[in-house]
């Protein structure tokens, strides 16, 4: 009996040492990054890429002890291009992880080619409702949020702060309609007008006249990218900023503030993080990012940074092994890393449960602009779609 147990122990030692040796001779870990790096929204994709690469650099070029090779691809905001690039990453380059994308319509397109090809897909931004609910996927993890939640932050805040009349506006496409629906989910006051503008409208003078005529207490807008830059400038120029509270989602953030500058001062947004969030890791991150890239990081950068930390934590748990997918998924699900946002854990649908804040545009002493946290609006907020997800 004693002999047998000795043999077992010896075998175990042998197995462990062989595995250990294997871990040392493992190939480089390949990670594909797919982001929008051309066209007007390129700045968002650059933040994503920079945030991800910064994390790897700070970890000494290694994740979970393995050397990393990052293959960056531009989807050009075209779903068909994204699909062929992701296929190449998964089938030809054999990446273990795909990190991306920025936009929800790209996410819809690359979900199948990425996850069915055997890679783990980690989204550092897009988080659609279908993949949070009935189409949830064991090989898909989100380090950002479920899209609706950001719009709900403003709706909740408008409701709680006693705003009676709101004027709401968004581009005339699916995400715009979802945005206004998300706002109205919590806001029960009077919506004086609900306006849909063509995507990429440049001049908002007609809408500004409407806002002035409607005399609302607050407006809520979802005008991402250049649309937001134009609208914010024109809203300020029309003298409405002093009379109407400006609530927004994805309209004033670190990607647009360099162009909006003083015009956006004091305007409100919603987020799961802000550059001034007070914890030591975040302070170090913001300082390092600004030193490296000369710009203030936004949510796109921090969520990609967290995605790298997430992969690092999972590979530490599996000792660098990516072949056992069940073990890898279990390790990812634990989210055993210190997120820059503080508290972070995954729900059953692999979307985060986290806090959300009302943020406000402020000018820093060095003259740069950033969003800063005003108050916590939701605590440990989980999206409602998780109940439709079959994963447990």
């Amino acid at each position: 009996m004693q002999v047998l147990s000795r043999i077992v122990v010896a075998a175990a030692v042998l197995v462990v040492s062989v595995l250990g040796a294997q871990a040392q001779t493992q190939d480089k870990l390949k990670i594909g990054v797919i982001a929008t790096l051309s066209g007007p929204p390129a700045v968002l994709g650059q933040q994503l890429r920079n945030g991800f690469e910064l994390a790897i650099k700070q970890l000494g070029g290694k994740l979970g002890g393995r050397e990393v090779e990052v293959l960056v691809q531009d989807d050009g905001l075209k779903p068909d291009v994204a699909v062929s690039k992701v296929k190449a990453l998964v089938d030809r380059d054999k990446v273990d992880f795909v990190v991306g994308p920025i936009f929800s319509n790209i996410l819809q397109a690359i979900m199948k080619p990425a996850t069915e090809g055997g890679a783990i897909l980690i989204s550092p931004n897009a988080g659609t409702s279908n993949f949070a609910g009935k189409d949830c996927n064991p090989n898909f993890f989100v380090t950002s949020y479920q899209n609706d939640q950001v719009h709900e932050v403003l709706g909740k805040y408008a409701q709680d702060s006693g705003i009676k009349k709101a004027f709401i506006m968004a581009p005339n496409y699916q995400a715009g309609k979802d945005s206004l629906a998300g706002f109205k989910h919590y806001f029960k006051g009077e919506v004086v007008d609900e306006v849909y503008v063509p995507l990429n409208q440049l001049d908002y003078s007609a809408e500004l006249s409407k806002i002035a005529a409607a005399k609302p207490d607050a407006i809520f807008v979802f005008l991402p990218g250049g649309m937001g830059v134009n609208f914010v400038k024109q809203f300020r120029q029309a003298g409405l900023a002093d009379k109407v509270k400006f609530l927004s989602a994805f309209t004033v953030d670190e990607s647009t503030l360099p162009a909006q500058k003083d015009a956006a001062l004091g305007f409100f947004g919603g987020a799961n993080w802000a550059p001034n969030l007070d914890n030591p890791q975040n302070k170090a991150f913001v300082a390092a990012y600004e030193k490296e890239y000369g710009a203030v990081p936004g949510t796109y950068a921090f969520q990609a940074y967290d995605a790298a930390l997430l992969i690092d934590s999972a590979l530490k748990a599996t000792k660098g092994d990516t072949s056992n997918k069940d073990a890898l998924r279990a390790a990812l699900k634990k989210a055993n890393f210190q997120s820059l946002r503080g508290k972070f854990k995954f729900n059953t649908n692999h979307y985060p449960i986290q806090d959300f804040y009302l943020v406000k545009v402020a000018k820093r002493p060095d003259g740069k602009f950033q969003t800063e946290i005003v108050k916590k609006v939701f605590e440990d907020y989980a999206d409602p779609h998780a109940k439709d997800c079959p994963m447990k």
Binding site: S38, G39, P40, A42, V43, Q46, N172, E194, V195, Y196, V197, P198, N200, L202, D203, S205, A206, E207, L208, S209, K210, A212, A213, K215, G225, G226, V229, N230, K233, Q234, Q237, A238, G239, L240, K243, S255, T256, P258, A259, Q260, K261, A295
Partner: protein, 307 residues
Amino acid sequence: MSTTFLLVQTLNGLQLGVLLFLIAAGLTLVFGVMDFINLAHGVQYMLGAYFAVAFYSVTGNFLAALLLALAAALVFGIVLEFLIFRHLYGRDHLDHVIATFGIILFLNSAVKIVWGAAPLSLPIPEALSGSILLMDGLLYPVWRLVIIGSGLAVAALLYVFVNYTRIGMLVRAGSTHAPIVAALGVNISRLFTIVFGFGAMLAGFAGVMIAPILSVEPGMGDTILILAFVVIVIGGVGSIRGAFIAALLIGLVDTLGRSFAVDILRLVMAPSPARTVGPAIASMLIYLLMAVVLYLRPTGLFPARGR
């Protein structure tokens, strides 16, 4: 629905129209005179705005930035013409489209490499940064009035230039009878270079004037290019007068459509479907207008003579 509100929206419409005219003027000139489809007109407009931002950061003076940007846009237009466009004049329209589309892609990326992908901004010059109270609670920036004024001035200048100057005469003659004009001893190729450089400068001027209101970003010319083409097609290709009237027409139709479509539809249908249908119809209106005009007058409202 007060009268003031209607008047304000009409003014907004006029302003959008003038803005469109500034861009369409150069496009119709090049298209009409040289029979050259220049899709790159939009990126020249973008470059004007970028040049202004760059020169403003150096000089800190809007007027200096404007003049330097105009000069830069002119030089850049002439260089482009010299290097690329002059080799395409005799060729098919499809070749123009492909070549100038290539220039769009190239310059959009080049701008991103030089200035970055994030949108930039140009402040309104201090002296003109005031605003006037237009209706209760709504200020109208003086700068928008300046845009209207400069658009009208450009229209008047172009009218005089094309109709009453020697160069204007050559331009008109060259557009319809180029070989004859050349046979009379006029250097037609140099004339085309001048027209092209001038067109590029007009696009650059539009970009500079609009930069304080809109964001300066890569690809900013692409959206406006489509509208500019709608303008020159409705106005009649090559006609400055046509471009002017069509631009104002489109500005008014688009703005009034956006303002009142939902309200008008609410008279005949429930509020919720009106909200869905209204914006869809409003954004189609200018294209519907174009279809109607083309049906009634296939060469546009004011076709240039000799076409």
